[in-house]
C-alpha cells in the first residue's frame, strides 16, 4: 500500500476529536475529515529571514536549502532519519503516528561530548501551493557535558496547510540544552509540534515557546527526567486573537529522585481568541525529593475571549514539593486608571500591562536578539489587537 493510501485510511480515524480528553481544546478542524496530501516539492521558495547571527540550517519544502560549510563538534544528517525506522512500536499519540508513517524530512543533530554550541538556528519553511501537509521528524542529541542553544523555527507560509513536527531530544549526563521554539503561519495553517525529551543525570533542558499570531497551534512538550539532578524549565506565552486557538500541552515525568521541574506560562486571549494550557506533572514512585512547580496565569482582554487551564499533578512519591497555581482575570482596572491618570492613553496602558504580564516568561532567556524578536512580535500583535481597536 502506498504511503498516502495508508495515511488517508488511518488519518480518518486517527485525527482526534474534541471529545478526546487530551484534545478537548485543540483546533484540528483543518485536518478533520479533510486529509491533506503530502506536499510535493515546489520550485518557488521565499527564503526566510534569519533572526540570529548563528549558523543556520534551512529546510525549505522538505529540502536542505542552506547549511554551514562546516560545523565543528556536530554531526548533522538530514531526512526523516533512522529514528523513523526504529519507531516500530506504534506511538500512542495520533499525530506522532501519522508523522511516523509520513515524515519525509527533518534534521538529526548530535552534539558531541563536552562541546559547547553557542547557537544554531534551524528553520523549516513551507511555501507554495495550499492545502497540503508536511511531516517533519527531528532529533537533537546532546552527549555528556555538551551545551547547546538552538532556535527551532517552523514557518508555515503555505496557506491552509498542516505542518506536523516531531522532535526527539536527548540531554546526556550534565549536558544542557536551551531550546527556543518559534512559529509563524499564514491563514488557516495548522502547526502541530511535539517535542519528546529525555534528560539524564545532572542534565538540564530549558524550552521557551511563544505561540502568537497563529491560526491554530498545538504545541506539545513531553519531558522525562531520568536521573538525579536532572532539571527542566518550560516557559511560554500564548496569545490568541480572533479565531485563533493556541493550545499548549506539557507532560513532565519525574522518574528518578532529586529532579526539578518548573513551568511558567502566560496566556492572553483577545476577542474571539482561545487559549488552553494543559500541564501534567507525574512524579513516579521512586522519584523522591522531587520539586515540581507550575504556574499558569491567564488574561482575557475582551468579551468572547476564552481561557482554559488544566494543570494536573499526579504524584506517587511522598517526599516531594509540588505546586501549581492558575489565575484567570482581566486587566486590573485600578492599574489602568493609575496609568491613565499619569497621562498614558488607555490602549497604550493596556499594552504596557500585557507586556508586564508576559514578563515572567522572558526571565532567563538572556539573549538580546531573541528577546527583541519576540518583543517585536508581541508589540505587533498588540498593535493589531489592542491599540488599533477602539471600543
Amino acid at each position: 500500500m502506498s504511503k498516502s493510501a495508508t495515511y488517508a485510511k488511518d488519518a480518518k480515524h486517527l485525527i482526534p476529536g474534541p471529545r478526546e480528553e487530551n484534545w478537548r481544546y485543540a483546533d484540528l478542524s483543518l485536518i478533520r475529515g479533510n486529509v491533506l496530501p503530502i506536499a510535493k516539492e515546489e520550485p518557488t521558495l521565499h527564503k526566510p529571514i534569519p533572526i540570529s547571527k548563528w549558523p543556520r540550517l534551512v529546510i525549505g519544502n522538505g529540502k536542505v536549502v542552506e547549511k554551514p560549510e562546516t560545523l565543528k563538534g556536530l554531526e548533522v544528517t538530514f531526512g526523516a532519519g533512522e529514528n523513523k525506522k526504529s519507531a516500530t512500536a506504534p506511538a500512542d499519540h495520533p499525530l506522532e503516528r501519522i508523522n511516523n508513517d509520513l515524515a519525509t524530512a527533518g534534521v538529526q543533530i548530535t552534539i558531541s561530548k563536552d562541546y559547547n554550541l553557542a547557537g544554531l538556528e534551524i528553520i523549516f519553511v513551507e511555501d507554495g501551493p495550499k492545502e497540503s501537509a508536511r511531516h517533519l521528524k527531528n532529533m537533537i542529541v546532546l552527549e555528556e557535558d555538551a551545551k547547546a542553544k538552538i532556535l527551532l523555527r517552523t514557518l508555515g507560509q503555505r496557506g491552509a496547510s498542516w505542518v506536523n513536527t516531531v522532535t526527539t531530544v536527548s540531554v546526556g549526563k550534565n549536558a544542557g540544552l536551551f531550546l527556543v521554539t518559534d512559529f509563524e503561519a499564514v491563514q488557516k495553517t495548522l502547526i502541530s509540534s511535539l517535542i519528546k525529551a529525555q534528560v539524564y543525570k545532572g542534565g538540564s533542558l530549558d524550552i521557551f515557546s511563544l505561540g502568537i499570531g497563529l491560526p491554530s497551534l498545538r504545541n506539545e512538550v513531553e519531558v522525562k527526567l531520568k536521573g538525579k539532578g536532572a532539571r527542566t524549565n518550560l516557559k511560554g506565552g500564548l496569545l490568541a486573537a480572533e479565531g485563533e486557538v493556541i493550545d499548549f500541552v506539557t507532560r513532565i515525568f519525574h522518574t528518578s529522585p532529586g529532579a526539578n521541574s518548573d513551568q511558567t506560562f502566560r496566556a492572553v486571549a483577545g476577542r474571539k481568541g482561545k487559549t488552553a494550557y494543559q500541564g501534567r506533572v507525574v512524579v513516579e514512585k521512586d522519584a523522591q525529593k522531587t520539586e515540581a512547580h507550575q504556574s499558569c496565569k491567564n488574561l482575557i482582554l475582551e468579551r468572547t475571549g476564552e481561557a482554559n487551564v488544566k494543570p494536573e499533578l499526579l504524584i506517587f512519591a511522598d517526599d516531594v514539593i509540588c505546586s501549581h497555581g492558575a489565575t484567570v482575570g482581566e486587566l486590573d482596572e485600578a492599574s489602568l486608571f493609575y496609568m491613565m491618570q499619569r497621562g498614558i492613553p488607555k490602549e497604550e496602558a493596556k499594552a504596557l500591562l500585557v507586556r508586564a504580564f508576559l514578563g515572567d516568561i522572558f526571565e532567563g532567556l538572556n539573549d538580546q536578539v531573541l528577546m527583541a524578536h519576540f518583543e517585536q512580535k508581541i508589540d505587533t500583535w498588540m498593535q493589531q489587537n489592542l491599540v488599533g481597536k477602539k471600543k
Binding site: 486590573d332 482596572e333 485600578a334 492599574s335 486608571f337 493609575y338 496609568m339 491613565m340 491618570q341 499619569r342 497621562g343 498614558i344 492613553p345 488607555k346 497604550e348 496602558a349 504596557l352 500591562l353 507586556r355 508586564a356 504580564f357 514578563g359 515572567d360
Partner: protein, 248 residues
Amino acid sequence: MTAILNIEDLKVRVDGKEILKGLTLKINPGEVHAIMGRNGSGKSTLANALAGKPGYEVTGGKASYKGKDLLALKAHERAGEGLFLGFQYPVEIPGVSNLNFLRTALNAQRKYRGEGDMDAPTFLKNIKEKVALLDMDYEMQKRAVNVGFSGGERKRNEMLQMLMLQPTLAVLDETDSGLDIDALKIVSQGINAIRSPDRGLLLITHYQRLLRYVEPDFVHVLSDGKIVKTGDKTLALELEEKGYADVA
C-alpha cells in the same frame, strides 16, 4: 484671569449613591486650597471624579479646567492637560518598572501637548535630581511600580511622579496619611517645590498636620457632599481644636 479649576454645583454618584451633592469650588493660579472633612464626607470622591475614574458618575453641575470642560475629557487627557492626582492608595503594577512607567507617562503627556519625547539623558538627570530632593533611593526606581514599597515609600513615589510631570493642578488625596514626621517633612518639601504662581494645589486631608508644612491660602470644610465652610489657614487649627462637629 482664567481660573485653573472652576467647579459649580457638582453632583457625583458612586455605586448608585449620591456622594457629592452640589459642590462649588474655584482655584486660581498660585492658590493652595485644602479640603478637610470627616471620613465619608466625599473628599476622595471629589479627587477621583476630577481625575475621571470609571464608576464616578457625574449627575449634575459643571467643572471647567483652564476654561475647558473637564468632564468631557478622558482620564489620560486630563493628565495630559496637567491635572495630577496623588492617590491615597497608589496601586502596585508588577512587571512595569518605575523608570519605564514614568518615562512612558511623561512622553505620553508631552505627545498630548504636541511636544517631542524627552531624551533619555535629560530624563535620567531629572529623575536623579528629584529622587535626591525627596531623599529616595534611586535603585528603587528600577523596581516595579510600588511593588514591595511601604506606605511612606509609595507616597514619596507619588511626589516624585508629581515633580517629574510638573502638573498645573495637583490634587493630593490624603498624601499625608500614614507618614511619620520625617517623611511628612520630605513630602511637604516636594509639595512646596511645585508651588508656583501659575499652578494650583488642592490638598485633601483629614488632619491639619500637613498644613503646618504646606500653608494653604484657603481651607474648606466638606460635609455630606457640600462645602459648608470656607476660611483661611486658621480654620484648620480651629477644626483641630474643636472638632468637625462644632465648626461645621
